[in-house]
Every structure is written in C-alpha cells, then in structure tokens.
Amino acid sequence: MARRSSPTKSRRTIAILVLISVTVLTIDARSSGPIRKVRSVAQEVFSPVRTVADKVFSPFRSVWHGAFRYDDVKRDNDRLRAENEKLKGDAALGKAAGDKLDALQKATSLPYLSKYKKVAAEVVYGPASNYDDTFIVAKGSNDGINLGDPAVTGSGLIGRVIEVSASTSVVRRVTDRHFGVGARVVPATNGLIVGTGDGGVLQLTNVLLDVKVNVGDRVETSGAAGSGLPAGIPIGVVAKVRNKSGSGFLEVDVTPSAAVGDVVFVTIVALKATVS
C-alpha cells in the first residue's frame, strides 16, 4: 500500500522538484561547462562499473539478442558464412592473399589529415536514448583526445567528440540533428552540412541557387574559419539537389561516404596534437 501524505505537502514537494529541474535545465542551456564536467565525471566513475557489467551481461546479451534480434542474428550468421567461404578461398591463394591484405590495409589507412596524431578507438556503447545519435569510445583525454576532435574512418567523417573523460569519449554522429560542420562540394562550393536525424541522409545548406551542384559530386569539410574542422575530410556524395522555393538556397541531400551507423572502430584525430 502506498504511503499517504497530505495533498498540500505532495504539491509542495513536486513544486520544489520542478523548480530544481528547471534551474538545472537553465544552467545547462546557458553554459554547458559545469554540466559537461559533471557528465564527464559520471562517465569516468561509471566506466569500471560498465566494464564489469559488460562481462556479467555478456551471456544474457547473447540470449537477449537471440530472442529479440533474430533477424540480425540470422543476417550476421549469413554474412559470417560468406566471409568464411571467402577467407577459405583467400588462404588457398597464399601469397596473393597476403598482397591483397597489404593493399586493403593501405586502403583503410587515412589518406587525409596526415599531420595530426590519430587515436584508434573501439566503439563500446551506442546511443543511450531515442533522441541521441551518439556513441562512446574507449579512449579519452589520457590518449590526447579533446572536445571537437573528429572521428573518422578510411571512408570519411563519422562524427565529432562532444564529451571527454580520462578514458572515454562521447562522439556525436554526423547524422545527428545537432551536428553541423562547414563543408564544400568539391572543388569550391561552400555550405553547411547538418544531420537530419535520418541515418542515411545529410543535408548541405546555405548553397546559393546560382551555384552548380550535380548528383554524384563529392562533399568534404571546407576548413573555412569557424567551420570547426580542418579541410579535406570526406563527408559524402550529393544524392539529390532541390530548388527550395523562396529561400534563395538549394536544398542538397548528401549520402555519407562512411558507414556511420555500423562503426566498430573509429580513428579520433587529435587536432591539438600534431605529429612532428
């Protein structure tokens, strides 16, 4: 049976709780500094708990996934079978396969941002809520990572670091509705790339109507002052161009060049630590 308390006292309590919530929300909205620090400390404190929980829950997760993600499990199984067959064939090819592997490694190394320190990081957690398009990697400020550093793969931009603790970082995906970065359609049309919340599409905004943009054109970071990231990181290719009536700007859909939703490892480019 629920504990009874007077309606007046209950109302006073909920009023106080609402007031505290609104105060905290206001502090977060005005300056994210203190809140970011609290979240960063929480990530750090919770990190070992997560590590232990990860191990404890591993067998449960297999059962859970087997029960609730049958489609994924079946798809993974089919994919692994196909990969296994392919690997068997490659092994038979001997040296040719070794050469192929070397070529693959070269292809996956980053062909851009060579002057910066790079930190390979494993993705350990995906989004924690329905309105987050973020993930957590197991590398943090101890590894030279700072706020705003880009997360990339050989194919292009994945996202950007928005929170850092000593051993973990939170990365906001390029597809998140909060994401924005200065971009250009190669060779020279500048605009702003923003996430749409739809995992498969980005939008290039602020492109004037008289600029020629074609489907298939490459889009990369512009590196313009205030754009947030260095120039030359591949973002995607133009998928659709629309004339947004009345706005004076084109509406350009861009398909990300990297598999933004499926990353297991990313490279964080430590922008403040250059390679000598």
Partner: protein, 170 residues
Amino acid sequence: MNDFAALVVRLAIVLLTTMIIQIELITRTTVFGVRGDLMLGVAAVVGVAVGAEMGAVIAFIAGLLSDLLVTTPFGLNALTYSLVAYGVGTFHRSLVRSGTFTVPMVTVLASAVGAAIFGLMLELLGSIHVLDGKFLRVVIVTALINGAFGGVLLRVLRWATPHDGGRMRA
C-alpha cells in the same frame, strides 16, 4: 541499520541495477527503431508503490541518473520522471480498487505520457525537432516495453521501499 539507511541502500541497488540493465540490454536492442526506457518504467511504477510524494522524489533521482548518461538537456529526464511519478501516485490514490491489470495498464499509460512529455519538452526547448513519425513510435513502443516490465518493477520497488500503513519497517 536504521530505516532510512536501509531504504537508501535498497533504492541505490534497485536504481543502479535498473540503469545497468538499461545500458547493457535495453539500449542495445531496438524495436521498430526505438530503444526502451526502463528508468521511465521505474518512474511510472514507483508512484503506485510508494505514493505521489515519495514517488516523485525517487523518480527525480532516477531521472538525474539517466541524465548523466545521455546528451539531451540535463534535468529533462528528472523533470519528466518526477511529474510522471507524481501523476501516477495521485491517480492511484484516487482508485477505489485495483485489479490484476491495473499496474501494467498504469505503467503503459504513464510511460506513454512520460515519453510524450519528454519529446514535447525537447521540442519546446528548441533542442531538436522531434515531432515527426518517430515520435509516435517512441511513445507507443516505450509504453509497451515498460508495460511488460511493470509487474516486476512493482515487486522490486516494493522490496526496496518497505512500509506498513505509513510507517516503514526495518
């Protein structure tokens, strides 16, 4: 251990365990592209378990814990959860009698209201535009997932907050 210390320890165990289950299992699985929110389920049920006032306080703490691990505005989960628990507690107090399906139904309804409040407040705060097709999916799926866990959550919360006629037992 005195009553209050026992209550704090038990609640800490329940909230932290729920949070770990949320992170390790619930958020790693999507149903129609939606992740469940078990902590919202706790907020919905705690109002039934301990009443409006104490329920709102416990839900507020659960919300703050959730806020630590997401990137949405800090305090929004705390606000939503405490309103949900208060509403459920007040509603449940007014019920003359409750049947077998009362708790699952209250959990479903309260979770739907909570998910809707959260989305609407995100929109109002100008944080992001959330009122699209996914919003309705989030509300429905979150409510149904929490409804499935409602009975278990109530048992666990009653274990964590033991009391008898308004006076807590040790």
